[in-house]
Symmetry: C2
Subunit: 312 residues, 2 copies
């Protein structure tokens, strides 16, 4: 009997995957670009973003696995075969590590740690109260899925007033819920630190723009760990340079790696990190793929299949 064949289309950074269960011999693993394959033999694809047109050339494709929680890369060219189930990666560690990143950067801002770093460099004991009290620092989380809810709950425990914004209204204890495009201005108006954890869809593309920043209170701060496409960079730079926004932390960009000539690298109010807020671990990712393939082979459907009407 033919083994299930998995075509893996991944950047070289993912070399750690080839020392996991994916290479235990129970499946036929084909690394895209490393060995030729016959399109009809491919049963499954693993990727962040398959090349345009490629999936349509695979007549026997049973399912696709996304290496990340976001699946927008599969829909980038509008050519995803709707009859093929798409599974997205989700695990508790991924949620916790994304929350770690968001908490850390919100706290570095809230606590004024960059100023203490500068004072240390100058050997100056610069004791000061918090720039703004915790109970007056309103956190706004965009996206109320697993990760957004988790992060929101952590901020509540740390004493911050928290609201979320999402497509549909949520009921989470201690978290004010805003929903839909109509409530977006009110959400931004009550938010001192906004954290974007949204999926990238036509409805959320460019959602962090001049109107959003203008609606935020003076001194507002922005953290984007979702997708580069959520953020209109010229609008962000204008809002920072006018003094209205106090800073931004960006982990994701329309073009990655961020080009060397980008003004973001040296903007004094911007922290740039190289898309590391949450990185799937090879071992955990391999379990997700292998368990998913086993489920399909048994005729079952694994958890976390993307609903096509929503595209995330």
């Amino acid at each position: 009997m033919k083994k299930p064949a998995l075509l893996a289309i991944l950047p070289n950074a993912w070399n750690g995957l080839w020392q996991t269960r994916l290479t235990d011999g129970t499946i036929d693993l084909i690394r895209f670009g490393k060995r030729p394959y016959d399109p009809p033999e491919i049963d499954y694809v693993l990727s962040f973003r398959p090349p345009q047109g490629l999936l349509k050339t695979l007549p026997n494709l049973k399912a696709c696995f996304s290496m990340g929680a976001g699946v927008d890369g599969f829909f980038a060219y509008g050519d995803y075969p709707a009859e093929v189930p798409l599974v997205r990666f989700s695990d508790d560690t991924l949620s916790a590590e994304m929350a770690q990143y968001v908490l850390m950067h919100a706290l570095v801002h809230h606590r004024g740690q960059r100023r203490f770093d500068a004072a240390q460099s100058a050997h100056v004991w610069a004791q000061a109260m918090l720039p703004r009290r915790t109970e007056d620092t309103r956190i706004g989380i965009m996206g109320a899925g697993v990760i957004g809810t988790f992060a929101a709950e952590m901020f509540v425990k740390l004493g911050f007033p928290v609201a979320s914004w999402s497509r549909s209204r949520k009921t989470l204890p201690g978290i004010e819920s805003f929903a839909g495009a109509d409530e977006l201005p009110a959400f931004f108006a009550r938010t001192d630190i906004v954290v974007c954890l949204l999926p990238l869809t036509p409805g959320t593309q460019g959602i962090l723009n001049a109107a959003a920043f203008a609606a935020m209170p003076a001194g507002g701060f922005v953290v984007n760990v979702a997708r580069g496409g959520h953020m209109v960079i010229p609008d962000l730079i204008a809002a920072l340079d006018s003094g209205h926004l106090s800073g931004a932390v960006l982990d994701v960009f329309e073009t990655e790696p961020l080009p060397e000539g980008s003004p973001l690298w040296s903007h004094p109010k911007v922290t740039v990190t190289p898309h590391i807020a949450s990185i799937s671990q090879p071992r955990v990712a391999a379990d997700y793929v292998m368990d998913g393939i086993a489920a399909f082979e048994r005729g079952e459907r694994p958890a976390n299949i993307v609903e096509f009407g929503r595209k995330y």
Copy 2:
């Protein structure tokens, strides 16, 4: 009828207190050094560290209020009048803000944020997995009071293995409990990031010393937000310089402000902050003192009276 008289012995940084309930006229507020007083008139004292011998000169002292959660300043000279109740400050915001500081600095280390800062300065996209996986990064919290327990629970939620060390054994879900001097070496041996939140007592003076650092695994990291007296600085510098410890964050020092000549200011592995992990807010502190005085005046005892056998 004579109003209750409060002698406030505080550094100038606490000027915010004079715009609170403390000056509403219902008590007689005497700022030490600003106006003379007759010792028998003093009913209450508010301070971090009263001058040596001063409390013994007040024959009618009913109680003392500590401006901080730590009360070691009252016992610094061994002259505290044991018959006078001592109340320590505690509020939820203080606990949450201390936890914010500890989480932030542990996460900056865990996530390798200092390296990303350096990469940004060089305009380099330095994508990398976490230096150490979250589930392999063992947090050790010294002190299992309100703040220690709160911080430990937050680390558990963020996916870290957590243990606490305290005088007596605790039972907290998901947190391994070490207790007493005998279990200290085992506690350090399983701890990658140690956070000191202990009260300063004769039993905890110098507890972060060469033996502790040697017991920790290579790459260990230390956060001290308790008292400068917990840390033996020459031992810390030796452990950092040998390469055994990877870094330290210090908010508290034996002499504060930290003297300009201290080698800590410019040590490449040390983060110095000016005792700001947790700063009582004037308004909240005033409520605590005024409510406490009212309780004593009604013949009641407020919460958080220090047990004298324990000195914290």
